[in-house]
Symmetry: C2
Subunit: 457 residues, 2 copies
């Protein structure tokens, strides 16, 4: 794509965003309902296109150019995926409007009101990989939050996403919303050109591998929201309860090892080495976890009875780099720490600031851990796997942010909004600054709180 056509796409998106701001929010909900019906109407064609994408991908796998796990993610009609995607659009439609909410309201003077009101960010550029349903998910989130979006899916799902986009476009054309409100692009080259459009694009959301996220961060002046790593840690505090420790460590590691919120490192307080640790290790080994242990935690395991399953094959000494590796598999790095504060320091230095958990019976230690660990999520006696927009009650999410500017943690509709300040003078003469000040006859600001949850005009 030429720089020129990238400018055109970005400019059209911004114009669509600006025009959409004057259209009632009910049109956005109408659009979501129409998207669902258009998708239903186009289902046979989409199913056929998805089949062709799958076959093409299968040939790539056979030629050794693609991983087979990717093919699974391409299949839009596996199990209840298609229905879940449609239901997701309805769920997003039913969520409360994230725009127009007042988070600060103050009467600055008689008849001078200030409101801070949530509003969309503007134009989103969303880049994701294999799963074609993400086009629909993200389009729904963008529309609901009032943002225009430019979407780029993986090249393996190109035929499927083309039809999904067509359904979205048809639906939009039946509303007052501009038809350029949601645009889809296909190639990496288009992405590169769009990354320079910081005049028109307000936020880039990459959903994919670490290398994709890093590449984007290094190649744009546009703010990027996305997590690069999910290096989550569970710390077994001196006062940890054994049953809780077993449950939480096993769940954090094994519930879904490929997820970014799965635990990759276990920190064991040294006082637990001969008490609680062997039983946690046994449970992990029974679950098929490979343990990469430091010397103290390893030597305890080497003295366990040989009847422990997997003991001889699934316990190995750790290497330094294991503690900065996102295993994304049934592998867990284990480190012994002498204290709570050492655990906090370790996590701040090594974790990816995603989600870290403590298992403890001490309220004081829980408080210290939650204050001291500088991550988007700090948990007490709960599995790191809870880090998720749905589980948090946000309905849905565009991802989990490990950045600390703007949205942090699971990003729902609220994370796709910013705010603006709206000021209204109801005074007969209007309000001017020159009347305020410290001199004689000058007015003072009132700064009186207004109770309002929505803008009154």
């Amino acid at each position: 794509m030429s720089e020129e056509s990238a400018t055109q796409i970005a400019k059209a998106a911004k114009a669509a965003f600006e025009a959409s701001q004057l259209i009632d929010a009910s049109e956005r909900i109408k659009a979501l309902h129409l998207i669902k019906s258009e998708l239903e109407a186009l289902q046979p064609e989409i199913q056929e296109a998805n089949k062709v994408d799958l076959e093409a991908a299968q040939r790539e796998v056979e030629a050794g150019r693609l991983s087979s796990s990717l093919v699974k993610r391409l299949d839009l009609f596996k199990g209840d995926k298609w229905d879940a995607m449609l239901q997701g659009v309805m769920d997003v439609a039913a969520l409360p409007d994230p725009t127009g909410n007042v988070s600060y309201a103050s009467e600055l003077d008689d008849n001078l009101e200030l409101y801070r009101v949530s509003c969309p960010i503007g134009v989103l550029l969303v880049i994701f990989e294999a799963r074609p349903e993400v086009v629909v998910n993200i389009a729904a989130l963008a529309i609901k939050s009032g943002n225009a979006a430019i979407l780029k899916g993986g090249k393996e799902s190109i035929r499927t996403t083309a039809l999904l986009s067509q359904a979205i476009r048809t639906a939009l054309s039946k509303t007052q919303l501009p038809h350029d409100y949601i645009q889809t692009i296909q190639t990496r080259e288009e992405v590169s050109s769009l990354l320079s459009q910081d005049r028109y694009i307000d936020l880039v959301i990459p959903r994919g591998s670490n290398s994709l996220v890093r590449h984007i961060q290094n190649n744009t002046r546009i703010p990027v929201m996305g997590h690069a790593d999910g290096l989550c840690t569970v710390f077994l505090d001196e006062s940890a309860d054994e049953a809780k420790a077993v449950r939480i460590v096993v769940d954090s590691k094994t519930d879904y090892p490929a997820a970014c919120n799965a635990a990759e490192t276990l920190l064991v307080h040294e006082k637990l080495l001969t008490t609680l640790w062997p039983n946690v290790a046994k449970a992990l080994l029974e679950a098929g976890v490979l343990l990469l242990c430091d010397t103290p935690s390893l030597s305890v395991l080497q003295n366990l009875p040989v009847s422990v399953p997997n003991l001889s094959t699934r316990v190995r000494p750790s290497k330094p780099e294991d503690y900065s590796t996102e295993h994304l598999s049934l592998t867990l790095s284990v480190l012994t720490v002498p204290s709570l504060s050492a655990a906090i320091r370790y996590i701040n230095a090594h974790s990816s600031h995603h989600t870290d958990a403590i298992v403890t019976e001490s309220q004081a230690n829980a408080t210290q851990f939650c204050r001291g660990v500088d991550s988007a999520g700090t948990y007490v006696n709960a599995s790191t796997r809870f880090a998720d927009g749905f589980r948090y009650g946000f309905g849905t999410e565009v991802g989990i942010s490990t950045g600390r500017i703007h949205a942090r943690g699971p990003v729902g509709l609220e994370g796709l909004c910013t705010y603006k300040y709206i000021m209204r003078s109801k005074d007969d003469k209007g309000h001017i600054v020159a009347e305020f000040g410290s001199g004689e006859g000058k007015k003072k600001f009132k700064h009186e709180k207004i109770s309002a949850s929505r803008l009154p005009f």
Copy 2:
């Protein structure tokens, strides 16, 4: 400065930040009180250093290497500046703690609580120009909001800021806070090296010229918060009241023309050209404003009686570039527009998304303007000059953000904070994800709102 010492400074700041998280917020307030006393104790030396800085700057002015307006800003003891600076520290100390506030709290399950709690961002790199008191202002804001900071002042105030920093450091050494909590650096080279420390520095806040802000944005991966331009617009709607129009336009332009929230462009609805516009123009001319007019607004003025002051000397035809120029002086670009929607489109395309105002008697038009104009502030019948942290009731500000990610508009303590999610299980067995789901015997999430404004543990 070598890359190595930049790393050391940044690393020390991050370590100081992390250590500070475990220290009670009352220490931060104590630090602010101590900073005030240390500054008072060091006043004679600071006054002397400031004198030397001023003399050196004066010589630079005489040699034509420095603008004389800068010298004025260097003087820390002019009028009540010194006392105002000390009072500012006390004001910040007295503001409510922006950290530890709960903005979302939900019971996800029996005994499983989720809290979204405000917390500091981490390490701030703040770069500013001439005025030495900014060191103290920003240090106070950083300390109050719990952020570590690296501060870089202008080289012209180097002797003054060195002593101000010394007072801050001495004060910190009398608290439990780490003494590297606030660090000061002196040269542009140090800034360049620090801009690559994205591992340790979380946010860059440039306060200075547009070229400084742009340079920084182009040279770092660290998020940058700062406004580049203040191109504010006032639109006189068809239904504008004449007295309000005169007051608001004159105040927006003349109250403090060098400020970023001063109006630079006036949009006049074409129906007002022969009614309201001549009187607005007369008032502006009386105030000494230079009017750069498009053809319609110009020809009306050319037919005014010659008795209008400045008419022959202070009215000129505009050039296209005048509409994208931040005059920062008594100069105003004037453009005729055919409609409200044309005004909105013009502002979205030309303004810097800072603050834009409408003068109108129509509530419907006010609503359209506030919805349609994509700026941090949209005002109805109020001067653009109200865009200011103090006037908004934030106590103080670090600047006005025209970005739309994170903080927007005047940035007070809240804008220096992010949040983290804290989860606590009070269940006897702790909470794991595997128990939740749609299958038989699986738990469902409750997502029941908890009413809490501060973290209960």
